[in-house]
């Protein structure tokens, strides 16, 4: 059978995995019987791996501070952001409350903090909760290993609260880079595949307690609170009442756990 002719474009697309399966099968037939073409394809593959071998190490170069600054919302935008709350407040009370917090966030950003705890939590939640296949580093099946690892990395004992009562099962967890210190993230999921995450990090000494706060960041609701030891943020795209109920459950469980294990 002679289904071809093969073009250069076909071979390139084959190497890049961009050919339709039927056409890829055609190419494979030719590769099996034409050694010269098979060599060309092998060369192209080798080129790819040579290029990656040489250029991948660039990715781990430290990022210069100027670029870290450039990744932050610029000051002009922050200033604009300050006026947003007033429009929002006029629209709905809930948004008004959230925006009041973004006013506070703006102040913090001016103070040199890259981003607030609540905002960081919401963005981190969005990043990993949106990852269907790999939301966590260690799955709930290895919960003990997960908790031991995170406790070691954070420098204090963390616990994954049991949220089955609220319909959320533990998916697993991971270590994430917080804006100031390493943070543990526990991911939960309910039967409707909605995800919640609880992020915990040690609080820098000298910071004051914050009672339950609620903020909406980029459509993600965040309940957060800070005690004398840790900062906690529960993030999810649930309504405020649901978030509050679950947040209280988490708080209660952690309070028990903290009194049980003195730090």
């Amino acid at each position: 059978m002679n289904p071809l002719p093969l073009t250069d474009a076909d071979l390139n697309a084959y190497v890049d995995g961009a050919l339709a399966p039927a056409r890829a099968a055609d190419v494979e037939q030719v590769l099996a019987r034409d050694a010269a073409i098979a060599t060309r394809v092998a060369d192209m593959r080798q080129q790819n791996s040579i290029l990656r071998e040489a250029l991948d190490p660039w990715l781990s170069d430290p990022i210069p501070p100027a670029l870290l600054d450039a990744a932050r919302m610029p000051r002009a935008a922050v200033r604009w952001r300050r006026f947003a709350p007033y429009f929002a407040a006029a629209a709905t009370l809930l948004l008004g409350v959230a925006s009041g917090w973004s006013l506070r966030d703006a102040t913090l950003e001016h103070g040199g903090t890259p981003t607030t705890f609540a905002r960081q939590a919401a963005l981190t939640h969005a990043l990993y909760a949106g990852d269907v296949n790999r939301p966590v580093e260690i799955w709930a099946a290895e919960e003990k290993r997960l908790v031991t690892w995170l406790s070691k990395r954070l420098g204090f004992g963390v616990h994954a609260p049991d949220l089955n009562g609220a319909g959320f099962a533990l998916v697993g967890g991971r270590l994430v880079a917080g804006n100031e210190r390493p943070t543990a993230l526990f991911m939960y999921e309910n039967a409707d595949k909605q995800r919640l995450s609880l992020q915990v990090r040690k609080q820098p000494p000298g910071t004051s307690d914050v009672a339950f706060r609620y903020a909406v960041e980029d459509g993600v609701g965040v309940f957060y609170w800070i005690d004398e030891v840790c900062a906690y943020a529960l993030s999810g795209q649930l309504d405020r009442a649901q978030m509050l109920t679950i947040g209280r459950a988490v708080y209660a469980q952690l309070a028990v756990a903290e009194t049980a294990t003195p730090k």
């Binding site: 250069d8 474009a9 961009a18 192209m44 790819n48 190490p57 660039w58 932050r72 919302m73 929002a88």
Partner: protein, 180 residues
């Protein structure tokens, strides 16, 4: 009511290493590359209302970078003192292959990489986006604002050139500067 537009900061941070790498491939030099990345991030914030949340932020940033690069190059061309960045001219002093980063310094590998630096920048861009960034052809076409057919022909030409060099690669010592 829509909330005020913003860009996801963690994703933006996560994209920086890839933006820097691509910028170095384009400009051939790390200081200019970082300037390009900085300009790209500034533009991204300016245009943040144009980013559709939930879509691929990396592809959007690469697109912005491409536009910034093309504009800068047009300005540079107008300025007669500036040398074209296209690799057709001899020299290529600007294209510093990151030899220091290699696990092993193989002659063949250096030859091929040096030849990447000699490719016209348009071919170099497509090659790196396809082979190293592993973007789909459609994504590359969108980033570079060219038809998919052009992506494929540039890619094919770039690879063929590199392949011929690799085949002809003599074992003569490379003139490439090795920075340890």
């Amino acid at each position: 009511m829509p909330t005020e537009p913003s860009l996801p900061h963690p994703e933006l941070l996560a994209a920086i290493p890839r933006l820097r790498r691509y910028a170095r491939v384009l400009t051939g030099e790390s200081t200019r590359a970082d300037d390009l990345v900085q300009e790209t991030l500034a533009r991204a914030w300016e245009k943040r209302r144009l980013w559709a949340a939930g879509t691929d932020l990396r592809a959007w940033l690469f697109t912005i970078m491409h536009n910034v690069f093309v504009n800068q190059r047009a300005l540079a061309r107008r300025d007669a003192q500036n040398v074209s960045l296209d690799g057709d001219e001899d020299g290529n002093a600007a294209w510093q292959i990151p030899v220091r980063a290699m696990q092993q310094t193989r002659v063949e590998l250096m030859e091929v990489l040096r030849e990447v630096g000699r490719l016209p920048v348009d071919q170099r861009a497509v090659l790196v986006l396809a082979a190293v960034e592993e973007m789909r052809y459609e994504e590359i076409a969108a980033v570079l604002s060219i038809p998919v057919g052009t992506v494929m022909s540039r890619l094919s030409r770039a690879r063929e050139k590199l392949r011929r060099v690799a085949q002809a690669a003599p074992s003569e010592p490379s003139t490439l500067k090795i920075v340890k």
